[in-house]
């Protein structure tokens, strides 16, 4: 899906990178924990949906070669962070919708979940026997 179409679906506006509205994203990862993004996102070009607005969000998107960042819950990064993203070529979008609704709309319109990397803890049973 093109970023421009995605923005219209979730009522988002471009904070930077509006000239990259034709950029395609096919998969998304939603998290506020940047540690999880760093440890779990496998592919490149993935859309990051997050409510975390620290400068490190853009650094993480850079390190992980992500396609764009969509901020949810009406949260906005500082102008310095937006400026940094513009220099780094990372499009930033923002919507007032909550993460659940944003993800629901995009999933319904065919944006696929990002493939998750395996972690050593995956081998631990999710429900250890109760004592």
């Amino acid at each position: 899906m093109k970023l421009q179409a995605l923005a219209e679906l979730v009522g988002a506006r471009f904070l930077t990178g509006a000239d990259q509205g034709e950029r395609e994203v096919t998969r998304a990862f939603a998290a506020d924990l940047l540690s999880d993004v760093l440890a779990m996102v496998r592919e490149e070009g993935v859309l990051l949906i997050t409510g975390t607005v620290t400068p490190q969000v853009v650094r993480v998107a850079e390190v992980m070669n992500m396609g764009a960042i969509l901020f949810v819950r009406g949260k906005l990064p500082t102008p310095a962070t937006v400026e940094y993203a513009a220099g780094a070529g990372v499009p930033l979008l923002a919507t007032g919708k909550i993460m659940y609704e944003t993800c629901g709309i995009l999933y319904q319109h065919g944006v696929l979940p990002a493939k998750r990397k395996g972690l050593p803890m995956d081998h631990v049973p999710p429900n250890p026997a109760h004592p």
Partner: protein
């Protein structure tokens, strides 16, 4: 054992404690340097992740330190050394999900206990030494020419 291949590039970066605005800038510079040197994209990405995790740990938890990037024909090495509280139990710190991070670090999106495991996962060789009350030293080695296209790496521990 043959001596290591001499470096084709070496650079030292200083990391300031608590510099949240600048945190991640070393990782950005390392990735740019590696790309300019023509290092393989997969190696650049893994080095970027290892560097970012190590840099964030230094900014959040230490009193500052330095990161040394060494590029050789066959590998990229990242050496992290900091002054700080050190890690009391390294075996625990290497377990995914174990964290001693305070709430303020978690509110920034970090401290979920995946940092050191993720550094190890993206390294081909990984060494960590720490002394409580003095600091921590980490050496990550990423071998070049070992292409990985699945994204699932066994990491140094496998």
């Amino acid at each position: 054992m043959s001596p290591p291949i001499p470096p084709i590039h070496k650079r030292i970066f200083l990391v300031a404690a608590g510099d949240l605005e600048g945190a991640g800038s070393v990782s950005t510079a390392v990735r740019r340097t590696l790309r300019e040197l023509g290092v393989e994209p997969d190696v650049v990405k893994r080095a970027g992740i290892v560097c970012f995790e190590g840099e964030m740990n230094m900014v959040l938890f230490s009193q500052g330190g330095r990161i040394i990037l060494i590029v050789r024909e066959d590998r990229v090495e990242l050496l992290f050394s900091d002054r700080g509280p050190g890690i009391a139990n390294i075996d625990l710190a290497r377990q995914p999900g174990y964290s001693t991070a305070p709430d303020w670090a978690r509110e920034l999106g970090f401290g979920s206990g995946l940092g050191i495991p993720n550094m190890e996962q993206n390294s081909d060789r990984f060494e960590i030494h720490s002394r409580v009350g003095e600091g921590t030293v980490i050496r990550s080695t990423i071998l070049r020419g070992v292409h990985d296209d699945t994204g699932d790496r066994g990491g140094a521990r496998a």
